[in-house]
Symmetry: C2
Subunit: 333 residues, 2 copies
């Protein structure tokens, strides 16, 4: 569990896009973001107050989160200077970088001396159990995709936000590094050892109130040959009551796999649902989330209407239209 | 790659069953087994020559393989004495125990001093790539099961043996610890990190001659909620041309999952085949392997005839009947 709220470290971000982790935190958990820390030459700006470490500390920030991708895959000397000072001033550090904080001897030594935590969210920090498949109380919704990177995290976050806005009980359950940094906890599923994947998903979606929904962040795709095993573990470990089908209609092949066509939404439905029903016979497909960012408004609406007619389920782009109709569909089951 | 041939270490095995790894090596790779090493009180016997370390060395053995489960999960002082001596006499050590050889400081130190290798086959020793899904040359057969532990390894080994007996090109591709010790190499798939599972399967089944078959050892089951992700990675990483369906008809629930019924062979076929065709559109289900150990000969034959009539595919118990008809089915595609 990462202590909130955060000071978002943007470092010397070369552009706005490189700060997308920080942007995600600011967009989805604004209460977690007390301010931003920018170094000379930083080209990203979240529109938050620029703060020194001391100012952020005074404003209540507990953890400095590295919200930016590092250049060349290494933590630079310039970054290091800020990170060491942050530890000395009482901040924990959290990072999703490949270059682990714990592998930097100076950071590890200073953290130990100051009694601070280093959170490397890319690697598991828990010994997960093997999944036992026992039915858990509460309800769970999982986004499954025709491909990787089609908007599964966005969909789950948008539904969680809509649930909370309606005063309903909901928890976004992060299964990847950005999601973990946004919410402060979760499982780095792609880094979990094979035998414990489904068990880690059970662990992050425990027994809950009967009217509580876990909005589980999906990963990969049953049709993406590099990562389908991860998706399978989510479908069985998550025991979803509801599936949301996610799609990006303009892609001409599976991400990173030239020659592999995307499946249709019908094929995704007919593949994912029976597999989900192994763990939860009551599971239903309740809605469709389409990422229409590469379509005009008109094209998008026409496409969504066509999908809705074909599949007989609400089809929306939650970025353009919000997730209200997807949440309505949950309420109906 | 573990150096062969082996001296099979049975230690103080409490019974024959506890030496099943050694038994597997002796049954499937008799050329790898120059002799057995038994300590006082050993209750297992493979029918091999009992040898001292010196005798085994003289007979050409290169690796001492721990072919027995250890009591209490620890490498005992009595075992340790033999293992240290073996290293000193020039043997490598290989083990599938949870208690890793490398974690024993004395063994690690002696191995280093003597320039010998410690092979802990339960943990990966290779940095596997992420799967790229590129079509590979050669052919591949994968056994998939209605449940865990229904005879998938046995089936692949029996088919590999039959292929070789016919002078055909075949390699058994181990994906679990027993299989790795039997053949001397393979991947400990259940211990591979999620993102690299399918890539490890691609790695162990590389490009090959057009008329060469990899007989890939299956793991888990698409219907076993604890381990289905591992099975999914095998189906996509393995790019099988042929699937063999494996089943144990007397089980009343999935192994370790009370309340979970086994799927029918038809459901397994209809689930596994479309998923396999994502990675290899030419994949076919070619035969059925049934573990009839809990049935009489008469019951078994009746059951097999019924399955064969229902599914229109050869159905055999390779333990009772050999794998000839399964290999015939491969030859037909």
């Amino acid at each position: 569990m990462i202590q909130t709220p955060y000071l978002l470290f943007l470092g010397d971000a070369p552009d706005q896009l490189s700060a997308k982790v920080a942007q995600g935190i600011k967009d989805w958990r604004p209460d977690h973001a007390v301010g931003q820390f920018r170094m000379d030459g930083c080209k990203a700006d979240l529109g938050l107050a620029d703060m020194t470490l001391a100012q952020a500390k005074a404003a209540g920030a507990k953890t400095l989160v590295i919200g930016v991708a590092n250049r060349g895959g290494v933590i630079s000397a310039a970054w290091k200077k800020v990170l060491v000072q942050a530890l000395e001033e009482g901040f924990d550090l959290a990072s999703g970088l490949h270059n682990l904080l714990r592998d930097e001897e100076d950071l590890a030594a200073v953290a130990k001396a100051c009694g601070r935590e280093l959170h490397d969210v890319r690697v598991p920090s828990v010994e997960y159990p093997i999944a036992d498949g026992v039915k858990r109380s509460g309800k769970r919704c999982l986004a499954v995709g025709t491909d990787c990177s089609v908007g599964k995290m966005y969909t789950a976050l948008a539904m969680d936000k809509e649930m909370k806005a309606r005063g309903l009980k909901s928890s976004f359950r992060a299964t990847g590094q950005t999601g973990i940094l946004i919410t402060g906890n979760g499982i780095p599923l792609d880094a979990v050892v094979a035998d414990f994947m489904a068990g880690s998903v059970e662990w992050i979606t425990p027994d809950n109130d009967d009217d509580h929904w876990d909005m589980i962040e999906g990963q990969g795709s049953l049709f993406h040959v590099s990562f389908s095993g991860v998706t399978m573990a989510l479908i069985h470990g998550g025991q979803p009551d509801a599936l949301i089908l996610c799609h990006e209609p303009t892609r001409d092949h599976m991400r990173g796999l030239p020659g592999y066509a995307l499946p249709s939404l019908e094929t995704l439905r007919d593949t994912a649902l029976p597999l989900a029903q192994v763990a939860n016979p009551a599971c239903q497909v309740v809605g469709i989330s389409v990422n229409t960012q590469h379509m005009s408004q008109e094209e998008a609406l026409e496409y969504l209407a066509g999908v809705e007619a074909r599949l007989g389920l609400p089809a929306v782009d939650p970025f353009r239209q919000g997730a209200a109709r997807l949440v309505d569909a949950l309420a109906a089951i």
